[in-house]
């Protein structure tokens, strides 16, 4: 950096010194580049602001409306708590069952999608495609699809969460497999073990910690995801939240929201504790 103390005490030095010690944070080209990047970002955001379809008088009114909404939630109507807790139990069950199902489906896909364990390049591509496809479609979109197939209910919810999780679990487990130390693989190959036995002894023990950590992490995420399934009719606490909102029963909605908050925070604490234990 072209900096010098003298530049800051300019009054005491001669003019040519001032000119010599000229301080700049960036070069000219860098400044142009930064300016253009900033300008582009500003233009894009202001385009969005100007063109977005909002009736602005309403927008200015929004804080008051939201505040009003929260006032309508007070005091929470705790009489609905038993029903809410039952629904919450269903939500957690959906998350557990769906995570278990998804693990069963994700593990084979992960082994097929890892470069060092794939049986065939064509299968590798197929595995990658499955991972990208299931990961790019959001849980709630999967839920729309499964509700159309199975009708409203927990089955659609379980399938939606399980399918979305395949991509997440499969991708992370496949990455774990690719990062395995190749030396035990070499040693097991040298004993004359078949491919399946090499994977069983040299790869499986190495990825087990990753496997557990990723599964618990996904279970935690799935609790959060399963709270919204009910909105499209796929079971869980979202069902009663959505009907409470439809009937403008805000004091009941408050209890539901607080319960969701509680179970999500508990799930996160439990998941963090479990992951600390396996890693």
């Amino acid at each position: 950096m072209k900096t010098d103390m003298l530049a800051n005490t300019g009054t005491m030095t001669k003019t040519h010194t001032l000119a010599t010690y000229h301080w700049e944070r960036y070069t000219f080209a860098q400044r142009i580049g930064r300016f253009l990047a900033f300008l582009a970002a500003a233009l894009v955001v202001s385009w969005a602001l100007v063109r977005v379809d909002i009736y602005w008088p309403w927008a200015w009114d929004a804080p008051a409306q939201i505040l009003d909404q929260f006032q309508r939630m007070y005091p929470p109507d705790w009489s609905v708590l038993p029903r809410v807790l039952e629904s919450l139990l269903e939500t957690v069950n959906i998350a557990i069952i769906a995570t278990a199902l998804s693990v069963v489906m994700a593990v084979p896909v992960a082994f097929v999608s890892a470069r060092n364990t794939t049986p065939h390049p064509v299968l590798w591509w197929l595995g990658r495609l499955i991972l990208v496809a299931t990961r790019s479609v959001n849980t709630i979109v999967w839920a729309l699809l499964f509700v159309a197939i199975f009708g409203p209910g927990v089955v659609a919810g379980i399938c939606a969460i399980a399918f979305r999780s395949i991509g997440f679990l499969g991708k992370l487990i496949a990455e774990g497999i690719e990062e395995c130390d190749p030396r035990p693989v070499e040693a097991m190959t040298a004993t004359g073990a078949s491919r399946a036995k090499v994977i069983l002894y040299a790869i499986v023990p190495q990825i087990l910690p990753t496997f557990y950590a990723v599964t618990v992490l996904r279970w935690d995420i799935n609790i959060r995801e399963s709270t919204v399934l009910g909105l499209v009719g796929a079971g869980g606490i979202g069902m009663i939240l959505s009907s409470a909102v439809d009937f403008l029963a805000w004091q009941q909605a408050a209890v539901i929201l607080i319960s969701i908050l509680g179970v999500v925070v508990l799930g996160e604490l439990l998941s963090a504790w479990l992951r600390r234990r396996v890693l």
Partner: protein, 267 residues
């Protein structure tokens, strides 16, 4: 027993890693392969059990040509060739016993491997070998809890579990301190004699080669430049192997110590 003829390995354009290499091994005992880094020592061992595919030439084990084998036939040959690695290549998260038993993977079924239900004679053999290398009290300890020397002793036991016709040892002492190195070489020599198995061992340490091997093969630039008993390893021979101008730094060190203190060198 092992017969290698005109073995050549070319990785890419340029100097071959191994060129028209011939070697025949018939008796048990240690055969040391010495040479500077990049001389082709590791390539040679890995060609023998086909972890590296040879470009041309022939390798026969008990009269069976193994360079053309595929699938199950290749695995059958591999399970009769034990291998010991420079960095031990143990499975860290498995127990010592599981690591030793993994030497039997070529023999047991997938189900037995999965459930760890190995035949009783395998377990007996594993206990015996672990006792021989002094690790019987560690059977259920995880491999990553062991010291370097202990890990390599597990590596030796694993190779012997395979009931091998020959053992390949790729720089088995390079990751160990001098004292442990001597211990490992001692185990290799004793077990080789006890089970009458020939051991082909890559060494970067000339002194260890002199002390423990029955026969020394010198490799330089992928070619065999010396083959004889350790007593014939003169200064001139070593110059031919390691070159006068650019000796391998470790080679230089061991040479200097061995020439400076000839009394320490046992034949």
């Amino acid at each position: 027993m092992l017969k290698i003829t005109k073995l050549t390995k070319i990785y890419g354009p340029g100097r071959p890693a191994l060129y028209e290499f011939d070697l025949a091994i018939d008796e048990p005992g240690l055969t040391a392969i010495i040479g500077p880094s990049g001389a082709g020592k590791s390539t040679l061992l890995r060609c023998i059990n086909r972890l590296v595919e040879p470009t041309s030439g022939s390798i026969e084990l008990d009269g069976v040509e193994i360079t053309k084998l595929k699938g199950a036939a290749l695995r059958d040959v591999r399970r009769r060739i034990g291998m010991i690695f420079q960095s031990f290549n143990l499975i860290d998260r498995l127990t010592v016993m599981e690591n030793v038993l993994s030497g039997r993977l070529g023999y047991v079924s997938f189900w037995q491997a999965l459930t760890r239900r190995f035949p009783q004679e395998d377990i007996d053999r594993a206990y015996y070998l672990l006792e021989r290398v002094g690790l019987a009290h560690y059977v259920n300890k995880r491999a990553d809890a062991l010291s370097g020397g202990e890990r390599q002793r597990v590596g030796v036991a694993r190779a012997l579990m395979q009931d091998p016709k020959i053992i390949l040892a790729d720089e088995p002492t390079a990751s160990l301190d001098p004292k442990t190195s001597i211990q490992i070489m001692g185990f290799l020599k004793e077990l080789s004699e006890e089970f009458s198995i020939p051991v082909l061992v890559n060494l970067h340490n000339v002194e260890l080669a002199r002390r423990y091997s029955r026969r020394v093969v010198g490799l330089q630039g992928g070619r065999k430049v010396f083959d004889g008993n350790p007593g014939a390893l003169t200064e001139d021979v070593l110059d031919a192997i390691y070159g006068t101008a650019d000796r391998d730094p470790e080679g230089v060190l061991t040479l200097e110590s061995s020439t400076a203190a000839p009394s320490g060198v046992a034949g």
